[in-house]
Subunit: 218 residues, 2 copies
Amino acid sequence: MTDQTECDRLDRRRRAFIEAARELFVRLGYERTTLGEIVDRAGGSLATVYKLFGNKEGILEVVVFEKASSGATLVREAAEKGGTPQEILHRLAVSFQAHFLDPEVVALVRIVIARSVSNKDFARRFFERTATRTLDSLQQLFADWQDGGIELNAPPHILAELFLGLFVSDVHADAISHRVGMDNSLERLRARTQFFVMGSGVLENKNANISFEGSNGL
Amino acid sequence: MTDQTECDRLDRRRRAFIEAARELFVRLGYERTTLGEIVDRAGGSLATVYKLFGNKEGILEVVVFEKASSGATLVREAAEKGGTPQEILHRLAVSFQAHFLDPEVVALVRIVIARSVSNKDFARRFFERTATRTLDSLQQLFADWQDGGIELNAPPHILAELFLGLFVSDVHADAISHRVGMDNSLERLRARTQFFVMGSGVLENKNANISFEGSNGL
DNA sequence: ACAAGGGCGTAATATCTATTACATCTTCGC
DNA sequence: GCGAAGATGTAATAGATATTACGCCCTTGT
């Protein structure tokens, strides 16, 4: 009974449970998914589920937090490629849309909102790990631009909220309407980026030196 | 047994059930509210609930659709008072915020999203009666402005989505985070309106004649 | 006061599912 | 092969609640 092999065996089970649970949670929601179904799909047994996750809520936590990541990485990636603010913002818009409107992500958001009624702390932690972090990261980006000499129409944290809001509102609509008549065309995305560019004021800084080293730029 | 009195008696019961149900749904959510609790609070009996609403879902529908109204009225009211586009938009922002961030409305939105998994049609109808109608009404407002000679940076339907999105994203954040660190100050609201004004391009039409008769203006 | 229709209250039904208990079988190092 | 740790499968527990059934009592109009 080497720890390693034991670990492997349990880990494989664990993975199987998580995959099965995610698939079912996404399709049926949390309440309508029974532990029995998860076991049927993943193999193994109820006893093991309880050993690994404690209870039903435990497996939900693992599933949700495994999938829910902040957009901070996306912000960094988009910024590192350089270019004008418009270019950076558009790249960011593309990856934000792909990330936030991923049907699995939307389905999990639905579940988190549903559970937020009886388990506020759970929802709050989710919010922290996704929205709050993304906001911080966006705010930093805009602050860096500002330090680099770009004049903005509003403080960075306000702009961060507004930019993220462009996508959050879509997630919300999707969560309710289940994609009735949703248009995710590139044209629409471009219009939004353009709108943000105009509203934030970065357009008026066409010739500003934008180095992403940020605060020490200029 | 005049129809009138019968009607009154039943109607009063009906009202009591609806009020009790709403209060409980808002506080506990749909699943955790039992019909027994509703009856305890409203008086009357289970049998009457079933006679009036058919089943548990029936009473939810009544509660939700009674409270969920579109913002079309708000749009009309804000526009009728006249003024510059900035003024109109700011008035609209104030009433949108009050309407959409009403805690009862947010709580019902949570419920609709939760139920949208198992009852897509319900959620879709809700979306139609709220978001879609509000969007149409906003689009009309912007189209009227455009017809009145104001140049806009984007088509009216895109702008309508963007403006509504400013508030929807707040509803979404509220729905998940339950108002952790939410700032609904007037300053913030003003910044948003200003942002929209800049992004949409209406600022560049300072001297345009804006009569709300719309298409026949100018 | 009366007759009756209909709401009231209670209890029974019926199902569903999280959670626990337990005996059995696998796996894995030795 | 062996022995033990632990996963497995099954079944029992236990509590909750939507929904139905039914007999009583009150309201109401004459």
